[in-house]
Amino acid sequence: MTNRLDQCNRMAEGGRIDRSQPLTFTWNGKDYQGYQGDTLASAMLANGIKVVGRSFKYARPRGILGHGAEEANALMQLGEGKETIPNPRATQIELFAGLTAKATNGWPSVDFDLMHWLGKLGGKMMPVGFYYKTFMWPEKMWMTYEKFIRKAAGFGHASAHPDPDIYDKLNQHCDVMVVGAGPAGLAAALEAGRSGKRVIIADEQNEFGGSLLATKESINGQSAITWVEQVTAELAAMDNVQCLSRTCVFGYFDHNFLAALERRTDHQGMTATSGSRQRIHRIRAHKVVLATGAIERPLVFANNDLPGVMLSSSVATYINRYGVVPGNRCVVMTTNDSGYQTALDINGAGRTVVAIVDTRQQPSGRLFEAAQAAGITIKTGHAVIEARGSNQVSNALIAPIDASGENVTGETVTVSCDLIAVAGGWSPVVHLTCHTGSRPKWDETIAGFVPGDSDQDQYLAGAITGEYTTLGALQAGAKMGALVTASETSTSYACEDESVCPPQALYLVPHTKSVSRAPKQFVDFQNDVTAAGIALANREGFESIEHVKRYTALGFGTDQGKTGNINGMAITAKNLGKTIAETGTTIFRPAYTPVTFGALGGRDIGELLDPARHTAMHVWHQQHGAEFENVGQWKRPWYYPKGNETMQEAVNRECLAVRNSVGMLDASTLGKIDIQGPDAREFLNRVYTNAWSKLAPGKCRYGLMLKEDGMVFDDGVTACIDDNHFLMTTTSGGAAGVLSWLELWLQTEWPELEVYLTSVTDHWATCSFSGPNARNLLAKLCDDIDLSAEAFKFMDWRNATVAGVKARIFRISFTGELAFEVNVPANKGLYMWQQIMAAGEEFGITPYGTESMHVLRAEKGYIIVGQDTDGSLTPQDCGMDWIVAKNKDFSFLGQRSFSRPDTSREDRKHLVGLKPKDPTVVIPEGAQIVPHAEVTIPMPMLGHVTSSYWSACLGHGIALGTVKSGNHRMGETVYCPLADGRVLAAEICSPVFYDPQGERHHD
């Protein structure tokens, strides 16, 4: 056993880690050490940790495959308790002191997993899609089977607690957005930055440099790292350039909008000590340069998922960037030149390269020769056809293959090794280009998909185009940087010889056995998709690559197939006898790498989820113990409980106060639209059902507004201020919609009407007080107008001074009592409210909320649009035919719809009153109304109860509801069968329960 702290695979020197800063971390309950600059993955490898997880379906042991976003296996449960994060990749977790991580699967442990035995034994019974074929009997058992399937699925677990961190967002705007800070991106940003344009460059890694961070190459005669450092410093010094490291551009949306996630503090600890843990940049860019590089493909051979099989470029990265050699005896299998560099790096690190196994028959060139010179065994025309080992690689089976790469042509030899580095060619990171609907094109020369045509103003540079040399990347970057800034010239660069020998396209390494019989050859590691599984899917008729994806789960994982997809597509193509171009890709979608929900939600949570709108008197309501109701975005006082009062008690008290003396409601939330212009009347005639030609200044009128389908959609009182000037009120929730609706007609259909609309909802505060003492109360505060019933009639309004404040007083009533609405500029709303409360003290003035308002208006049979109506009632249905003008010149909005066959039916639902037969009963709102007391299910329904209350002043329950042909059924008894078994009887009656003659409000 290796000592936990000895970092057995750590090189003595080299890499971008700081050996003077050791960091202790915990993996699966044991402590280990790494260094500042490590990722969790590099630190685990340094400590010789091989098995990092268990696979999804077969629970096979899995090790680290890659070194970045492409990692498919090393999903962690990071941290604990409320800080825990499910599923981050070890390769993208920067090490910090005290980091703890666990494997997400494996019971009792990752090294020994019981599920694995189940997978081993049952695996044969679990080919792709097996669950569609079984678990069907008996039908009821599916829920039980499902429970077990669910338990086995999933990787990490979500925290059980709310998130201790916050997330925020910045809206960014720039001339040039560069994605990726490898040589191509840096060169592009440099060019654009020097031109003075506003530039943002983002890279998901902790520092800029991309693949240069892991090479020994040189640029312009100095080491590539030196160049990176110089360029990074120059960019950082430019005011016009924003450098965002640890920032993944995860989505590319239409019209050059990009979304990026910046991990601000994840490298320091599990939670942020101040500010946001992560931040989303919402970037609108004029031009976008994508320089996202390429990802290496693994090779598909038997047992290629054993820990110890790694991407060749990742092995090189661990050596060069992290000073870690992840094996002692290494076999490098390659289809192209890049494996050679890795072999040289391993060799240089003092570990054994057992052999380079090159699938090409006759490789040659610079790197080939270098490997030969280094004395490395090279087996050309060979492949590793199988890996062996129990929990990790211990042997590689190597066999000669033919030039087509389809057949094993000779004896297999077994070599012992603990690392197999695989280099299966490169796949350009085309993901972002696909997000806006573009589809990649197959490029035969590079054996990879490159970005297709796009509708976005987008430029490409570097490995994303299949340009795999550093010089090529630099030049392309510089060229694109110049192009997007319209500059004539661009910087030129010089690098060493990078000539390469052509790669071989090999997507499935042959085995001595057929695909269906060979040990599993994995294509998609995370979802346990094998070559045999793909073959089976194809055999079963799943031919479209999208079907293959959906049937096998290829590319469905958290890595979204970054390593597996191309091999899977190529294997499908071959099975079907098609070209890869014909087969095509599945669709890459956001997110490029997973994005924290919290970050996407940003600060729009908690109180900030949706604005809460307050009236000018809100503070007073709070101070006086109001309970609030959400009405749209408004917070409205619902009722004002006193002492231990229940809601019903408070509402009874409030209602009786209004009926017997005086009560006051904050009515400021009603929408108010100021209408000015010579055609204001004509405009009102068109948008309301009733006539407005004759309403005189000083008068008000109630109006109903319809959509063109004839259905009621808003109502309110409109006052004539003077001939060219009206003030419309709308429902509280409907205000914004009504204004847009009115503007729509004015601006698009009736531009000839000389009318201007201005929202004054927020400008006016409204104190609405009702009750027999309302006039007495007003008289105490207002003496500059005649308040007598004769001089100031119901539905009149006046300019007056109230409590020394200039006000508009409307004599309108929603309670059926004598009532006044005092409107003052909202700055004086609180003052006015306080003055009226004080003056009303002698009358026992009682503030009341929306609940009492509802009771009071229901007693009068007044509707609430949205409660008593639901978009399916015409004015006639509401019993409001009286408000529909029959002979207006202009066919007002909605009028034509009345005469449609359905709207003109006699047996439509009508809004009526309902009086419970048992006077002590209040029928629940939402109760359905049926004709008979016997409940037989199913049973036809006549309508439903829209509003229902206890009427304290009448001493019985009252309700409003819709009833089929209700207007013709007055006096009939109907029934409301409730969920608790009760059936409540009610008599259909007029909706006006209280003061049917309207004497009180006319008083």
Binding site: I85, Y131, H157, P162, A532, S544, R589, G601, R900, P924
Partner: protein, 420 residues
């Protein structure tokens, strides 16, 4: 007689395992199109495939082709959040959806294909007093229509979903919910594949990569369709093309009361089971369930603009996730894996169109908008009847296209919510 090797079962799995799964047959044939058919179904989504299946199964009409421009089940069927329920408001729609729900039960057995219908229950949350009134109204209507439904209070919601934020002083506290225990989710792809396999076995030709480019009408009657694989004759043509219905209708010079909008959804990374039911909220706008793979499947809102791009705007996703984090604060550190969009065919009254048209022999089944997955078996069932008899199935009759002229709309915005 179905060959025991073709019939799916644990037993057949075992026998095939012994043969290394080398002998599995095709799930469906890939026939070349015939010259003509009795019925052509345009659109190989769940609804189209179900229609073909029931045409063959219940009406003995087997000379049928389903023409699909892409791959079977690749439209909205491939991209919906799979919520199944029937607690709609109005008699007409609740009966239609409940007919479908009845068919969900036993569907796996009927098709011999496990569609993984999981009756884990569906909650529709209420966040303000009007929400609760609407919930009461709908639940009462459901009960009296014989549909499983109940109103729950906040505590009862909390018992079913212990992780939900039931705090009373959040911006929009949960006041209660409607609960349909018999609702749930299903494996969307399996539904398409199960119907496809069932239809194929009954002789229906499933023709993929076959785009209908024109509907040929002579003397007021349909005679066939023009496709990228040539002309195919038909006595009757049923169009079940969801988001593309407007485009297909235009081929027969018909306009529909339908607009196509992007509707987005997303999944998290797979996590261990944490939510066992379906939670929907219109007011806070979040819809979530957890798939059997472990990913949280979340429905976002509709994009307001017309769009055929199968993608929408980012702020819609952001809005949805702020709502999710509000309802489920512990999901804040979970991560979004993938988002995508579908093209939903929305009707002004949020109800479908299952209808004959002014062209003889041409039928449309569309307008399911944001919520037609749940209806898949029922929709196919009543549409097959409508096509077979040239007369609407009684449950389909109210959904005729005429209603937009008569005014007999069935406004389900309240119950359909904004989506799903």
């Amino acid at each position: 007689m179905v060959d025991p090797m073709t019939k799916y079962s644990g037993f057949s799995l075992f026998k095939h395992a012994l043969k290394h799964h080398e002998d599995w047959q095709k799930t469906w044939r890939s026939p070349r199109p015939k010259k003509s058919y009795d019925v052509i179904i345009v659109g190989g989504g769940g609804h189209g495939l179900a229609t073909a299946y029931y045409l063959a199964k219940e009406h003995g009409i087997t000379n049928v082709a389903v023409l699909e421009k892409g791959y079977l089940g690749g439209g909205n069927t491939a991209r919906n959040t799979t919520i199944v329920r029937s607690n709609y408001l109005w008699d007409e729609s609740s009966k239609l959806y409940d007919h479908a729900l009845d068919l969900w039960y036993g569907l796996s057995q009927e098709l011999n294909y496990n569609v993984m219908f999981s009756s884990r229950g569906v909650l529709n949350l209420g966040h303000n007093l009007q929400d609760m009134r609407d919930i009461e109204r709908r639940v009462n209507a459901n009960r009296l229509n014989g549909i499983d439904a109940a109103v729950l209070n906040t505590q009862e919601v909390k018992e079913i979903v212990p992780i939900i934020n039931d705090s009373a002083d959040i911006r929009y506290p949960i006041l209660g919910a409607s609960w349909q225990k018999t609702g749930g989710v299903a494996r969307h792809d399996a539904v398409a594949w199960g119907f496809a396999r069932g239809a194929d076995q009954l002789g229906v030709d499933l023709i993929q990569q076959c785009e209908v480019t024109d509907i040929v009408v002579e003397q007021g009657a349909v005679t066939g369709v023009q496709t990228n694989q040539g002309f195919i004759g038909a006595k009757k043509v049923g169009c079940v093309t969801a988001g593309n219905s407007g485009v297909v209708a235009a081929m027969a010079d018909i306009r529909l009361p339908v607009e196509s909008h992007p509707l987005q959804a997303l999944v998290s990374e797979p996590i261990k089971p944490i939510i066992d039911t379906v939670v929907m909220s219109n007011a806070v706008h979040a819809y979530v369930s957890q798939s059997d793979k472990g990913d949280l499947v979340i429905g976002a809102g509709i994009d307001a603009y017309n769009g055929y791009g199968q993608r929408g705007s980012m702020h819609i996703i952001e809005h949805t996730l702020s709502a999710i984090c509000e309802l489920f604060p512990m999901f804040s550190r979970v991560r979004m894996n993938r988002t995508w969009g579908g093209i939903v065919d929305t009707c002004p009254d949020a109800c479908p169109i299952i209808s004959k048209t002014s062209v003889n022999g041409l039928y449309f089944n569309c307008g399911w908008g944001t919520g037609g997955f749940k209806a898949t078996p029922g929709s196919g069932h009543v549409f097959a009847h409508t096509v077979a008899h040239d007369d609407p199935h009684p449950l389909a009759a109210p959904f005729s296209i005429d209603r937009f002229n008569t005014g007999h709309l069935i406004d389900e915005h309240g119950a359909a919510g904004v989506a799903h």
